[in-house]
Symmetry: C2
Subunit: 165 residues, 2 copies
Amino acid sequence: MANEIIIKPIGHVTFGRKETIDDYWGDSKAVIALDAKQFSQRAIQGLDSFSHIEVIFYFHLVNDQDILTADSHPRGNPVWPKMGIFAQRKKDRPNKIGVSICTIDKIENNFIHVLGLDAVEGTPIIDIKPVMTGFVPNKTEIREPEWAKTLMCAYYKNKDEIDNE
Amino acid sequence: MANEIIIKPIGHVTFGRKETIDDYWGDSKAVIALDAKQFSQRAIQGLDSFSHIEVIFYFHLVNDQDILTADSHPRGNPVWPKMGIFAQRKKDRPNKIGVSICTIDKIENNFIHVLGLDAVEGTPIIDIKPVMTGFVPNKTEIREPEWAKTLMCAYYKNKDEIDNE
């Protein structure tokens, strides 16, 4: 196997939700600060011509001893089948990498204000990529197990929407 | 800023395209071998209940001195506006991380056969996540600049399709 890879964060979530909870990320606001020591604003030149970005980040609050390497029930729910860690998106995973798509609210200097980013304040950011329709898999229909649909049903909702249902 | 993050590949592309070229990834077949020393098949248990996976990988062929940190023309095309490295998806980027969605063809033991993965043979794999419709941003319309549409027009086509156009 190849050697280890060294990653240096390009920025951090400097404002956002404090607690790690599973759902209700729809109304979450967050600010990503690009590290001004490494990058000028030229690094995000033109980013505002896109509506969405893909954020690659590090689940820094996960303890190494909690990392799962085999199979488990999604969200610990015994009703759902046991799935391998690479068949789930939970945070307790090898390399602790999260990938999430969110909406750009506004960009001011080296601060990217986003909506719906499911990362807490303090999260190290590893990369930012623009979302291009050419990369979104709408060419063929997406197939997924029933539990994955149920699991995600409240993920991007606002807390208010749920209370009113 | 936080300290460096150490990543250990979870597997490699053991079969796939040899050359790094920009387009025609539509008909590309590749095999991802999960590192059998670190993981049993339980790590990908149930993955075949999904049609698509998101693969996080390392652009290992990029030389450190070629990494871009400011703005440049996408694909070096002067007709397109200069964009920051984080407003592009090109490989010469800080941390050299690629994120790509592809289709599962079949899974045999610890080998995941995929279609349309834009990573060459030998690429270290950092993470694999299932694609869930709940995470795909169809809630709001995706907006992107015109050059991004043009840039992607041949990316996932087959070479034959282009020749016949």
